[in-house]
């Protein structure tokens, strides 16, 4: 029995988009915490900590997101947590976001001139306080455009959660397509929905970057390069 592709299907897909958004938010919040930790380890004094963080980034950026999802999904099952697609997707995307955000923010931290560290040191602040009170607040400004840019990449990445069976926008499209057998209409609509979610983010990322450029902060370029 083939169903018609009607307003009901359109509505079903629009509603499914909220799971895409929710998964993106969860992964972004988790990735912000993880990324901050990774960025701070990357500029730590200890060579071992710096090397460990660099290896983490290298491995997560050098392997497919799909494999990361599979390993978390099948791995958590082996560890006895059961195969939960939602939790696995959230965890895998958090680890993925931590690596990329960590690398982006490292670039931003290192774009802050050395004299800022030295000035803070002259005020007798320890390494952590130099970072927290002097460097991070300045790095935050140049970090915003590439971070918003990465958010687009993360949002698109959530589509892979459909492959381990989490029902977000792309998985909902498969269901609609199975019922209506109208693949072109279904996937074109889904592409439009993703575009509606991503495009404003891409635009604002670009606008923020131009504003920083105009203000003559060349470091924005450095940060943007870390985002590719």
């Amino acid at each position: 029995m083939i169903r018609e592709f009607s307003l009901g299907e359109v509505w079903f897909l629009v509603l499914a988009a909220r799971w895409t958004v929710l998964l993106t938010i969860v992964a972004f919040v988790g990735g912000t915490a993880g990324g901050l930790a990774i960025a701070m380890l990357r500029v730590a004094k200890s060579t071992v900590l710096r090397g460990a963080a660099a290896t983490y980034i290298k491995v997560l950026q050098g392997t497919p997101l799909l494999m990361q999802l599979y390993l978390v999904y099948f791995g958590s099952n082996l560890l006895g947590f059961g195969a939960n697609a939602w939790a696995s997707a959230a965890l895998a995307l958090t680890l993925y976001a931590s690596a990329f955000l960590g690398e982006i923010w490292r670039g931003c931290i290192q774009a802050i001139p050395r004299v800022q560290w030295e000035g803070a040191q002259a005020l007798a602040l320890g390494h952590f306080l130099q970072l927290r009170l002097v460097v991070l607040p300045q790095a935050l400004r140049i970090a915003i455009p590439p971070t918003v840019g990465f958010l687009v990449q993360l949002l698109k990445g959530t589509s892979l959660a459909s492959i381990i069976g989490f029902t977000e926008l792309t998985r909902a499209a498969q269901m609609v397509n199975n019922a209506t057998f109208r693949p072109f209409a279904t996937y074109a609509l889904v592409a439009v929905l993703y575009f509606v979610l991503c495009w404003p983010l891409s635009m604002s990322s670009r606008r923020l970057e131009h504003r920083l450029d105009r203000e003559g902060i060349a470091a924005a370029r450095v940060a943007a390069a870390a985002n590719t």
């Binding site: 799909l66 494999m67 099948f74 492959i163 996937y187 074109a188 991503c198 495009w199």
Partner: protein
């Protein structure tokens, strides 16, 4: 944990995995070559005087960069047949990768072309070079030299994204592994090992691009 890991099974299937890695390598290499060609054409179109052409390229770039690769792949593989274009999984996978990479490469190459100083082009004209020679030697080569590192990382991203084409059963490393896992249920061991293979591939590509960069562009001396 009562699970017993059996990596011996993976060892026995190693030749299948290596074949899969070869297929991934070939698919990615083809996508890189064609994707770069699309990128150069797109960047040239963006520099054209026709507003319509520029707008069309801009729409293509924005549409691709703001939608997931998986959706692009499914739209090409499942959606295009209803428009009369039926592709095999392998063809659909390659087309999706080229279309995807082409959009990113367009932006990257365009940035490189814009970085070529106008005076350089005028100098080319003053020397009486033909427009095609100016584009090739005065604009494109220096532009590619400037953006080669960015292109290289985009190439690696496409190679990693190729694992996604396993969902339409195009032949590559992940799809080969899916087939083996469906038979012996050793999912974790197999995906763990091929994750290592992917890591090796991306490190290999990184080294290769660094060598190519050096071999092709070292004689151009200092990069800005």
């Amino acid at each position: 944990m009562s699970y017993v890991f059996q990596f011996g099974t993976v060892w026995r299937e190693l030749d299948h995995l290596l074949l899969g890695a070869w297929l991934t390598l070939r698919l990615s290499a083809l996508a890189m070559v064609f994707g770069l060609a699309v990128g150069v054409a797109g960047a040239q179109a963006k520099a054209s005087s026709s507003r319509l052409l520029r707008g069309m390229v801009q729409c293509y770039v924005e549409a691709i960069r703001n939608t997931p690769f998986l959706v692009q792949l499914l739209l090409i593989y499942l959606g295009l047949p209803s428009l009369g274009l039926r592709l095999t999984p392998d063809q659909a996978a390659l087309l999706a990768m080229v279309v995807n990479l082409g959009a990113y490469a367009t932006e990257i190459v365009r940035a490189g072309i814009e970085a070529v100083p106008n005076g350089q082009i005028e100098a080319g004209r003053a020397l009486g070079l033909k427009p095609w020679h100016i584009f090739r030697f005065v604009v494109l080569m220096p532009a590619l030299r400037t953006v080669f590192p960015a292109l290289g990382s985009q190439f690696i991203l496409v190679m990693l994204a190729s694992s996604v084409v396993s969902v339409i059963s195009a032949e590559e490393l992940t799809a080969v592994t899916d087939t083996i896992v469906a038979r012996n249920f050793r999912s974790f061991e197999f995906y763990f090992v091929i994750t290592g293979i992917y890591l090796a591939l991306s490190l290999g590509f990184q080294a290769l691009f660094a060598a190519v960069d050096h071999a092709l562009f070292a004689r151009w001396a200092d990069r800005a």
